[in-house]
C-alpha cells in the first residue's frame, strides 16, 4: 500500500463545494476587514511599512521572550503560536499539493512515504500543543481569573472556537483511522488515541460528515477573526513599529520657530487625529493582556492609572472616530498625572506598544496649550532655574567647603561634573554630591563644574512644557559649546538621560556618563581597589532612568560586589520609587508609590537600601518617615557607599 495523503476521504463532492465557496466568502470578508482597518489607520507610507515588517520579524523571538517573563502566560502563548504556525504550514502544504500540484498532474505529490509520516507526526504534535495551550487559556480565564484580565465576548469566543477546531480535527482523524484502519497510525499518535473509542461505532460516515463540515466552517470563521477580533495582534505585530522608551520626540524646533516667527505646529495629543498611522496600527495591536498594568507602579498603588486602559480607550476612540483625547472621554487628567514615566510598561509590552508616549503627549497638550500643570515646579524652573524655587545663588552652597573648581573657557578639562538641581539644592542629595566630589578628590581624578549650571530641563519635558524644555536645552547647549571637555558625568540619572537621549535632537551629542558608569570604570581600571570591608546586607534599587531608559544595571551590581564582606539581596521585580515624571513634585492621594516600593525591600530586611538617583533616595527617606522606620534602614547612594570605603 502506498503511504500518501488521502484527500477528502469520506466527504461527498457537494460538501467540498460548500467548503470552497465559504472559503471564498471568508477571504472576501477578511479582505474587506483589512480595507476597513487600513482606512482607520490612514496608512500612506508603504516603504516604512515594509521596513517595519523587516524590523519586527527580527523581533519575534524577543517578543516571545518578553511573554515568557511570566511563566504560565508565556508558555500558554508559545504553545498556541507554535501549534497554530505548524498547523497553518501543514494546511498550506495540503492545499498546495491538492489544489496546485495535483491539478497540474495527479501524480505530483509531496506528502508521500516517510515525508508524509513525519508530516503527520509533526501535525499531530502541533495540534496537541495547541490544545494544551488553549486549555491553559480557558483555565486561566475561567478559574484563575487574574485581576488584569477582563472577559469580553471575544476573549471567550476565540479560545473556544480554536479549541473546537483542534478537537474536531483530532476526532476526524480518529474516525478516519477507526473506519479505514490505516496502517501507519503510529505517526498520527493523537488521532490514534481518539480512534480507539470510535472502533465499534455505527453510522460513522454520517457523523464524520457532520463533524467535517463543522470543522471546515471553524477554519472558515477563524480566518476573518485575524482582522475582526483581538487575533489581529498577530498580523499587526509585524507592521506596527517597535516603540521604545525614547520615542518621545518634539513636534517643533523652538529656535527655528523663533527664526521663522511662525507658529504653525500643534503640540501634544489634542485629539485622535494627532495620531500618525504607525501609532494607530500600534494601538490597534493591543490585545488587552494587561502585562503593562501589572508592571505599572501607579496602578499597583492606587489603580488611578492603567497603561492598558489608556491604550484600550485610545483604541476605542480611534475605531469609533471620536476625536478629543483629553477633554472628551479617552484620558482623564488624574491618569495623566499619576504616571511616573518609569517606562516599565514600554519595556514589558510584548508587542512593543508605548503607552507612556500617549500619556506624555497628553501632558504636552494640557500644559503647552492650556497651562494646566499640578505643580509649581515648572514655574520655579522658569523663574529660578531649579524646581525647588530656591535662589539661583544658593546653587553653589553645597560645595562651599570642598575642593571644587569651575571650568575655564580657555582650558580643556577631562571631566565636567554635572550636579543637577537635586544635588545642588536638596539637603540629602547635597551629601551625595559631596561624597562624589570626595571620591574623585581621593582618587586624584581631575574634574570641574560649570558656573552656568542650571536645570537640565528634564522635568519640563516630562511634565509637558516642551517650550520651556527647549529654551533650557538651548541655553545649556550654548554653555557646553563654550567649554572644551572630554566627558560629562552626571550625579542624577534624569539629567543623564536628558543629555544622552534628548539633547541629540538639538544637535548636541555629549559624551555623557552616569556616576555609576564612572565609578564602575574606576573599579575596572583598578583605581578603586582595596575598599574597606562592609559587613552589611545591601538591596539595590535600580533607578528607572538608568535601568529602563539606558540599560545600566550590571555596573551597579559589580560595584557592590567589589566591596569586601558586603552581601546583596535581589528584589525580583522592578518598580519605580514614585519620583520620576514629576512624581516628586505632585501630591498623590492614597497609597504612596514610594512606601509600597520600600515595603518590597524591607521584607528582605537589608541593612542598606542602595540606589543611584537623588530622587530615589529622597523618595525612600520620605517613605521611611511615613512608616516610622527612620534609623532602621539606611538609604544610600552607591557613591556614598564606595566613598566611605575608600582608604
Amino acid at each position: 500500500m502506498i503511504i500518501q495523503r488521502e484527500h477528502f476521504i469520506m466527504v461527498p463532492e457537494w460538501a467540498i463545494l460548500i467548503l470552497y465557496i465559504s472559503v471564498v466568502f471568508s477571504l472576501i470578508f477578511t479582505l474587506y476587514g483589512v480595507y476597513r482597518r487600513f482606512s482607520i489607520y490612514r496608512i500612506h507610507n508603504y516603504g516604512l511599512l515594509l521596513s517595519t515588517l523587516r524590523k519586527k520579524t527580527s523581533l519575534v523571538l524577543q517578543s516571545e521572550l518578553r511573554l515568557l517573563r511570566e511563566r504560565y502566560g508565556g508558555l500558554m502563548h508559545t504553545l498556541i503560536v507554535v501549534g497554530l504556525a505548524i498547523l497553518a504550514v501543514g494546511t498550506f502544504l495540503v492545499f498546495f499539493e491538492y489544489d496546485i500540484l495535483m491539478r497540474v498532474n495527479p501524480n505530483y505529490r509531496i506528502l508521500t512515504g516517510s515525508i508524509y509520516l513525519v508530516y503527520e507526526f509533526i501535525l499531530d504534535l502541533a495540534g496537541g500543543l495547541l490544545l494544551v495551550g488553549l486549555i491553559m487559556v480557558i483555565i486561566r480565564r475561567i478559574i484563575f481569573k487574574p485581576n488584569r484580565l477582563e472577559n469580553r465576548v471575544e476573549d471567550i469566543i476565540v479560545p473556544f472556537l480554536l479549541l473546537y477546531g483542534g478537537l474536531s480535527g483530532f476526532i476526524l482523524e480518529g474516525l478516519r483511522i477507526a473506519t479505514k484502519g490505516l496502517q501507519h497510525t503510529q505517526s498520527s499518535f493523537i488521532g490514534y488515541i481518539f480512534s480507539i473509542s470510535f472502533l465499534n461505532m455505527n453510522n460513522i460516515e454520517k457523523i464524520y460528515l457532520a463533524i467535517w463540515i463543522s470543522h471546515a466552517l471553524t477554519l472558515v470563521v477563524t480566518l476573518p477573526l485575524f482582522i475582526y477580533s483581538k487575533l489581529r495582534h498577530f498580523p499587526l505585530f509585524f507592521i506596527s513599529p517597535p516603540y521604545s522608551v525614547y520615542e518621545f520626540k518634539p513636534s517643533f524646533n523652538l529656535s527655528e520657530v523663533l527664526k521663522s516667527k511662525k507658529i504653525d505646529f500643534k503640540v501634544g495629543l489634542e485629539s485622535i487625529d494627532a495620531l500618525n498611522w504607525s501609532q494607530r496600527v500600534n494601538i490597534d495591536a493591543c490585545v488587552n493582556c494587561g502585562r503593562c498594568q501589572d508592571a505599572c507602579p501607579a496602578y499597583r498603588a492606587n489603580i488611578v492609572l492603567s497603561p492598558k486602559a489608556i491604550i484600550q480607550k485610545l483604541r476605542e476612540s480611534m475605531v469609533k472616530g471620536i476625536c478629543n483625547v483629553v477633554t472628551d472621554l479617552a484620558l482623564h487628567e488624574s491618569e495623566i498625572w499619576a504616571c511616573t514615566t518609569c517606562g516599565e510598561c514600554v519595556i514589558t509590552c510584548p508587542i512593543f506598544i508605548n503607552p507612556l508616549n500617549y500619556i506624555l503627549e497628553s501632558r504636552r497638550y494640557l500644559v503647552t496649550n492650556l497651562g494646566k500643570v499640578p505643580t509649581s515646579a515648572l514655574f520655579n524652573i522658569m523663574v529660578r532655574g531649579n524646581p525647588y524655587g530656591l535662589p539661583r545663588s544658593d546653587r553653589r552652597n553645597w560645595m562651599r567647603d570642598l575642593n571644587v573648581n569651575y571650568a575655564k573657557e580657555d582650558e580643556e578639562v577631562e571631566l565636567i561634573l554635572w550636579i543637577g538641581c537635586a544635588g545642588a539644592y536638596d539637603s540629602r542629595a547635597q551629601k551625595i554630591a559631596k561624597s562624589l566630589v570626595l571620591l574623585l578628590n581621593k582618587l586624584n581624578v581631575k574634574f570641574a563644574v560649570l558656573k552656568e549650571e542650571e536645570c537640565c530641563g528634564e522635568l519640563a519635558r516630562r511634565l509637558g512644557d516642551e517650550i520651556l524644555f527647549q529654551e533650557i536645552a538651548e541655553r545649556n547647549i550654548e554653555t557646553f559649546r563654550k567649554y572644551r571637555f572630554k566627558q560629562i558625568v552626571t550625579l542624577c540619572p534624569h539629567c543623564y538621560n536628558t543629555f544622552r537621549n534628548d539633547y541629540p535632537d538639538f544637535n548636541m551629542k555629549l559624551n555623557v556618563k552616569s556616576h555609576v558608569e564612572l565609578i564602575y570604570d574606576l573599579v575596572v581600571n583598578g583605581k578603586i581597589r582595596a575598599l574597606s570591608p562592609l559587613n552589611k546586607i545591601v538591596a539595590y534599587h535600580d533607578p528607572c532612568y538608568l535601568r529602563n531608559y539606558n540599560e545600566i544595571l550590571i555596573e551597579s551590581r559589580k560595584i557592590l560586589k567589589s566591596i569586601p564582606e558586603l552581601r546583596t539581596v535581589e528584589i525580583s521585580k522592578h518598580f519605580c520609587c514614585g519620583g520620576g515624571g514629576g512624581g516628586n513634585w505632585i501630591e498623590s492621594e492614597g497609597v504612596r508609590i514610594n512606601v509600597q516600593r520600600l515595603e518590597d525591600f524591607i521584607r528582605d530586611n537589608p541593612d542598606i537600601i542602595a540606589t543611584a538617583c537623588p530622587y530615589c533616595v529622597s523618595m525612600f527617606e520620605d517613605a521611611l518617615k511615613l512608616k516610622d522606620l527612620e534609623g532602621k534602614f539606611e538609604i544610600k547612594d552607591l557613591c556614598e557607599i564606595v566613598c566611605s570605603g575608600l582608604r
Binding site: V257, K261, I263, S376
Partner: protein
C-alpha cells in the same frame, strides 16, 4: 464687562541680591530679574474676576525695556494687553512719582473699573503705590484684600473682604476702585507656554510701549524731580543665628529646657 488694570513691577530677585558692607550698597550685578511675586497674586485675581464676570485685563509696568520679559509672562498667564511705560525721564522715581506716572497712564487707557496691585514689592516693600494711585485718581482704595465677594455689574458695586490681624473686614464700594492683594491669597496660574511663545513672536500685538509723550503728565511730578524721597544710607540688618537641638523626651530634658529658656531670659 469690567476693565481691569494690574500694576506689575520687574524686580531683581532679592533672594540673590547680596549686600556689600564696605560700600553700603546692594550688589545687583548678575542677578536675574523676576515679576514681583505678590504681583502674580494680583494678576491671578484679575484673571479670576475676568473668568467670572467677563472683561479685559491690562497689565501695566513702569520699567526699563528689560521688563518686556516679565510682561510676556503676564500675557501668557492670560492678560489681554500689556503696557510698558519706559522713558528716561521716568527714571529715579520714588513711590509718589511712580504712582503719579502709573495713574496718568491708567487714565490714558480710558475706562477702568478695578485697578489691582500686589501687596508690596520685594525690593522696596513700601506698599505705597496702590493707595497712592487711588488718591491721585480720586477713587476709593482698599489694601491687603483677601477676596472679592461680589460684583454687581449693573449698579457697579463691589463687595470685598480684607484680612486684618484679628478679623476680617468686609467693604462695599462703587467702582472704580484700587485694591492691593494680600500675599498668598491665591495660587497664580502657570503661564501658558504657547501663549508665551506667541507673545515672544508677536510682541507688538500684545504689548504697547509708551513713553512720556503717550501720557498727559506734568514734568515736575515724574522721575527724580517728582520724587521727594531720598535714600540716605542702606545698612544690612544683622542676621540672627538660629540654633536647634533635638532631644528624646524625658523629665530631665524638660528641666533642661526650662533652664535654657531662663538663660535666654524667655521665661
Amino acid at each position: 464687562m469690567l476693565n481691569m488694570v494690574v500694576g506689575v513691577k520687574w524686580v531683581p530677585d532679592t533672594a540673590d541680591v547680596k549686600f556689600d558692607p564696605a560700600k553700603g550698597t546692594l550688589i545687583r550685578e548678575g542677578v536675574e530679574s523676576i515679576i514681583n511675586p505678590p504681583d502674580l497674586n494680583a494678576i491671578e485675581l484679575a484673571l479670576s474676576i475676568k473668568e467670572k464676570y467677563g472683561g479685559k485685563v491690562y497689565v501695566i509696568s513702569m520699567s526699563p525695556p528689560a521688563a518686556l520679559k516679565g510682561l510676556k509672562i503676564a500675557i501668557a498667564m492670560g492678560a489681554d494687553k500689556a503696557i510698558l511705560l519706559t522713558d528716561r525721564r521716568f527714571a529715579g522715581a520714588d513711590t509718589l512719582a511712580t504712582s503719579y506716572t502709573l495713574a496718568m497712564a491708567i487714565r490714558k487707557i480710558g475706562s477702568y473699573d478695578i485697578i489691582i496691585f500686589g501687596e508690596e514689592t520685594i525690593d522696596s516693600a513700601t506698599g505705597h503705590v496702590g493707595p497712592e494711585v487711588g488718591e491721585i485718581l480720586g477713587i476709593s482704595h482698599v489694601s491687603y484684600i483677601k477676596r472679592i465677594l461680589n460684583i454687581d455689574l449693573t449698579s457697579k458695586i463691589i463687595e470685598l473682604e480684607r484680612e486684618v490681624e484679628n478679623g476680617v473686614e468686609v467693604y462695599k464700594s462703587k467702582l472704580p476702585i484700587v485694591v492691593s492683594v494680600g500675599v498668598g491669597v491665591n495660587n497664580p496660574r502657570y503661564p501658558i507656554p504657547i501663549r508665551r511663545l506667541h507673545a515672544e513672536i508677536e510682541t507688538d500685538k500684545y504689548i504697547e510701549i509708551w513713553g512720556l509723550s503717550n501720557i498727559d503728565a506734568e514734568l515736575d511730578r515724574i522721575g527724580l524731580q517728582g520724587s521727594p524721597t531720598r535714600v540716605i544710607k542702606i545698612i544690612a540688618a544683622p542676621t540672627v543665628q538660629r540654633r536647634m537641638e533635638v532631644f528624646q523626651y524625658s523629665k530631665e530634658v524638660l528641666n533642661l529646657m526650662v533652664k535654657r529658656l531662663r538663660e535666654c531670659e524667655v521665661l
